[in-house]
């Protein structure tokens, strides 16, 4: 679908306004994933119309809302309010599991394999990303070609914890699969990351070593089972 000019202006404006019916709304969201012109038109409308909400009166949230949000984004810390007896039980269990693993000498005590899927807004996969045990190598498969605009490249980044700069994991293939061996820096970055990001970059990738264009996707990096 190609959408430009007045048609794009109207559709993007109606999308931001909220008057686009459900099916066109989903189609436009899908377009936003692939078309920078559409994305630019959308962002312009978000800017244009934001002032319309300026006089909506604020409403104080319930006291329980923030703790509920924190529990959802940090489930482990939210469960951290445990007494000493429960901590002792957990420690015993952890120690028991660790000893069991050592005794049966599992061959894979190193880092497990990693996987991530980049999807469009309708949940259709665009790329599948996987890394081997220990993240020595990585594979990226373009499920659907034609997503990356001509004269642009999408670059993959490992988002780092604690404010460290993201580390480039290379360019996304336009179609087919790409297999690459990771450098030590990339390997460590991938093992430390819980999320990956795709940014829109000039052909050949970011000229600065950091994302320079719009971050188009952020996906969770999951440990593959087994």
């Amino acid at each position: 679908m190609k959408l430009t000019g007045k048609a794009l202006d109207y559709i993007a404006g109606a999308y931001v306004l909220g008057t686009l019916p459900l099916r066109p709304r989903r189609r436009f969201e899908s377009l936003l994933r692939q078309d920078l012109t559409a994305r630019r038109a959308w962002l312009q409308w978000e800017d244009r119309l934001a002032g319309l909400a300026a006089d909506v009166p604020p409403v104080r949230p319930a006291d329980s809302t923030l703790p509920a949000i924190l529990a959802r984004v940090q489930p482990r810390s939210a469960r951290g309010q445990m007494g000493p007896r429960r901590w002792a039980l957990v420690a015993t269990l952890v120690l028991g599991v660790a000893l069991t693993l050592l005794m049966i000498r599992l061959p894979q005590l190193t880092a497990p394999a990693y996987a991530a899927v980049v999807q469009d807004s309708s949940g259709q996969p665009l790329w599948e990303i996987s890394a081997t045990q220990g993240a020595a190598s990585m594979s990226v498969r373009a499920v659907r070609g034609g997503v990356v605009p001509t004269a642009r490249d999408y670059e993959l980044w490992a988002l780092q914890p604690a404010g460290a700069a993201p580390v480039s994991l290379g360019l996304m293939p336009r179609d087919g699969s790409a297999q690459r061996t990771l450098t030590e820096v990339q390997r460590r970055a991938l093992l430390a990351a819980s999320q990956l990001a795709l940014s829109d970059e000039p052909t050949g990738g970011s000229p600065t070593g950091a994302p320079t264009g719009t971050v188009l996707f952020v996906v969770d990096l999951k440990r593959a089972a087994g």
Partner: protein
């Protein structure tokens, strides 16, 4: 007084009106040029991008009431709005790394996350609504390119006032309440075709006025 007769005055009195959208002369306050506010939001978003929960708390303190106000206004249900607020903050946490201060104001980005989530909830409630064939046909149209510009609330205020009163009312109702064109037409007791036309012309006039 019938809602059709004096569209603006009646909107505020009309029993079918879910929301009082206020007088058009006062709905667009002076542009918020608080650079410190922007800096605080940007710092909090950057902290969220690095998975710092204190940054999320700070962001929540700064904007949760405003965002919840928007959700209550759109969803019309306090409990659902609180639930939606939780979902939106989880999304903001997950997507904070995608925010780029060079491409827009942070509150605009936060508001877009919240509004589109509310619109999705509203549209999911009303899945049975017929698709708008005019909108569908426009998806395949071909015209020339779009331009980039820096937009202020003052420009919005000026350009909104240049629209017809009907266009202003329809755009404001749609944006602030999240109502569909059908619902706006029903609320105002006006033909659906007129509402669609005012919204379309209003949007294109706004683009023409603000886009350059």
């Amino acid at each position: 007084m019938h809602c059709e007769e004096k569209w603006f005055a009646s909107m505020l009195r009309c029993p079918q009106a879910r929301h009082n959208v206020g007088a058009m002369t006062s709905i667009l306050p002076a542009p918020r040029s608080d650079a410190i506010w922007d800096e605080q939001l940007i710092a909090a978003l950057r902290g969220c991008a690095t998975r710092d929960p204190d940054s999320l708390r700070g962001l929540y303190d700064l904007v949760a009431s405003r965002l919840l106000g928007q959700l209550v206004h759109m969803l019309g249900d306090r409990a659902e709005a609180e639930d939606a607020l939780q979902e939106c903050f989880v999304r903001i946490w997950q997507r904070a790394a995608t925010f780029s201060a060079e491409r827009g104001r942070p509150y605009t980005w936060l508001l877009s996350v919240v509004r589109h989530h509310a619109i999705d909830r509203l549209r999911t409630r009303r899945k049975s609504l017929a698709l708008d064939e005019v909108d569908e046909s426009l998806l395949a149209s071909e015209f020339s390119g779009a331009e980039e510009s820096s937009i202020t609330h003052a420009a919005l205020n000026r350009c909104m006032q240049a629209l017809t009163s009907q266009q202003q009312q329809c755009l404001k109702l749609a944006y602030v309440t999240g109502q569909s064109q059908d619902e706006i037409a029903q609320q105002l007791h006006l033909p659906l075709g007129s509402v669609k036309s005012w919204i379309r012309r209003g949007l294109l006039s706004l683009k023409e006025c603000m886009g350059a």
